[in-house]
Symmetry: C4
Subunit: 214 residues, 4 copies
């Protein structure tokens, strides 16, 4: 906490390490609780030999939503990770925004579960997309505060527009998928998958630019 990279400016702010450890704990628990969205099929013993394979196959959409939910929380964790690695200082605004952000990460086992169970219904798709948008919103707000208050290293501060764009991208993609869900809920997940292809490329491009200048 007294190391130069982890300076704490404002009074009342909390220790850097412990905030990161607490955030990692919430990420690790939320990502692992996704598995509770997969219920062990409840079959009478006599019918299990014949019907279990089919019952497990019927869980296909839930299993798919488990992996989508794992990738989404994993991607947020990676982003949070990169952001805190660069962060030079920490203030109480960031602390509160981080808690609000974590509240929406921690909500995901529920919204992922609804999406896994009712993936063909627009309300389920919209609920999940709205959850991701809310989490992304607080994530971007943290970056915005960090850029405005110059809590990041100079190299990062040189490209504020690029950094904000790459950060706001998931929110935009999931936001766009909401009207898509009104037309056909089945298409929205494909919009999300596009994100997973485009996003790493954009992040890599920005990192290279920032490095080149740094």
């Amino acid at each position: 906490m007294s190391a130069p990279e982890h300076e704490i400016e404002e009074e009342g702010s909390a220790g850097y390490e412990r905030v990161v450890a607490f955030s990692d704990g919430v990420f690790a628990i939320a990502i692992t609780l996704l598995v509770l969205g997969l219920d062990v099929p409840d079959l009478p013993e006599s019918r299990a030999p014949d019907e279990l394979a089919g019952a497990l196959r019927d869980l296909g959409p839930q299993v798919a939503s488990y992996f989508i939910g794992f990738a989404v929380i994993g991607a947020f964790w990676l982003g949070h990770h990169r952001f805190f690695e660069q962060l030079r200082r920490f203030d109480s605004t960031l602390l509160l925004l981080n808690l609000a952000f974590l509240a929406f990460i921690s909500l995901m086992p529920f919204t992922t579960g609804v999406f896994g169970r009712y993936g063909e219904v627009e309300a389920a798709v919209i609920l999940y997309a709205a959850n991701v948008v809310a989490a992304s919103g607080f994530d971007t707000a943290m970056l915005w505060i960090a850029l405005r208050r110059e809590l990041l290293p100079p190299a990062a501060l040189a490209h504020p527009g690029l950094m904000l764009l790459s950060n706001v991208l998931p929110a935009l993609v999931f936001l766009c998928s909401i009207p898509v869900a009104f037309v056909d809920p089945g298409i929205a997940p494909y919009v999300w998958i596009a994100l997973f292809v485009v996003s790493p490329l954009l992040v890599r491009t920005i990192s290279r630019r920032v490095e080149a200048d740094g």
Copy 2:
């Protein structure tokens, strides 16, 4: 553990770092388990397209209690965080009080769940308020011991009354909400929200005073 800030006085006491890590683990898990209070609606497949949106809207109070519960555990975590940042020494009394405190934090996914499901019923409001009062009580007991045994830095010890007051405030607010719940359970949560407005102001004022003298 041998660093001057983390002195351990009495024999039989446990390592500072590991106590903090264990406490953070319990906080992170309890706050994340709040999501288990939100059950995925159970609708037959044929009726889901028409009824899911309504079923999710009916979960409104549970979602509200999820965010209240998240804010309450988050606020306790911040307070615990600030307290342990200042703490100079640690003894086995604090260790036991900390475990008792964590037992009531860890109980909150249950009491928050009862409140979310039956928020209009006085017993649910009282149960949740009593849980917060119990957690606050052990929290304040830890501060009281730390002040009496001079386990805090001199600046903090200069204003024991102010520190105890800001610490006991949540307990007082939730305690006052119990008789309010007997009159009208629906009003009690608004008493709690008042706390979230007043509390940060008070904490900031005290921090400034302590800093000014420190």
Copy 3:
């Protein structure tokens, strides 16, 4: 891992810090999962105002078992904590015994739940007591290996008998409560409570003796 206190003797053994962090994680999660033994009462909305208070009172035994379970896991954590604080070296036998020990800690949310629900039935009392005995057994086996292989500091090695006795005590008390449960399951928990009174005194006595010689 290269610090002198954390020497690792045998090849194939794992890093000290990470074993402690993993153990603490399992302790923190197991202790927090105890709350899942408390189910939110399921009442129709119309009857909740009249019946909720009674339904919560009926949960009394579950709440009591929650606190007993919390105290038991907390006590094991404190013991584990003290043991690893003293431990000088670590080998793969200890690593495996530690995993087996954690398997029985991690089982406690289930056995505590059975005890909370059926506390008056001897099978429930015996199941819970047997779980505590098994955990204690592996705990004592770790101490025995550490004493035999001289993995503890000289002061601790001076009183092997006293240390083993204080460690094996919980197992003995819970073991004695099993025949008691056959006579009257309701008495067994009072045998356990005796443990919580005697045990800290014994631990303190031993610590003082070891300190005096150390």
Copy 4:
């Protein structure tokens, strides 16, 4: 992160310590959630004294699968532990493979639960074996990348074949148990137990060879 053992080569990669802490969190939570596969029996109060002992005995297969699942996740954790202890550098490919690996570890409370409930049905055995094979596959892929990109110390790089073999062994054993399950699902678990006997011997042999050369 700037220590020589924890060099990070490629840009965009995340801090070594935090990756390890996050992985340990997921391991600790997944291993502890296995207990949720054990449901407290639901008996009417009047019949509990007579039927609880029998109902608990009927849980035998679930308890057995709990311990198998604990041993399997524990073994993966030990392997992960050893691998990251040796790892010199870290890149974003390893980061993504590690997340994919953790997704299959985190799935195990579900597949272990299905196996515990329907251990005599081939679909349950195959599902669990397939989960272990998938986790092992990503584990081996991490080792393969680390060997190819020379992210391990010279001694480890001297025996790539032996290291890959010991790593791929669990996958092979569980893979072989799948056709066995088609013949008789009851035999497959005994194939797995063979693994637990052979595997430590092989790991020890390799460690000694690597040490001897190192």
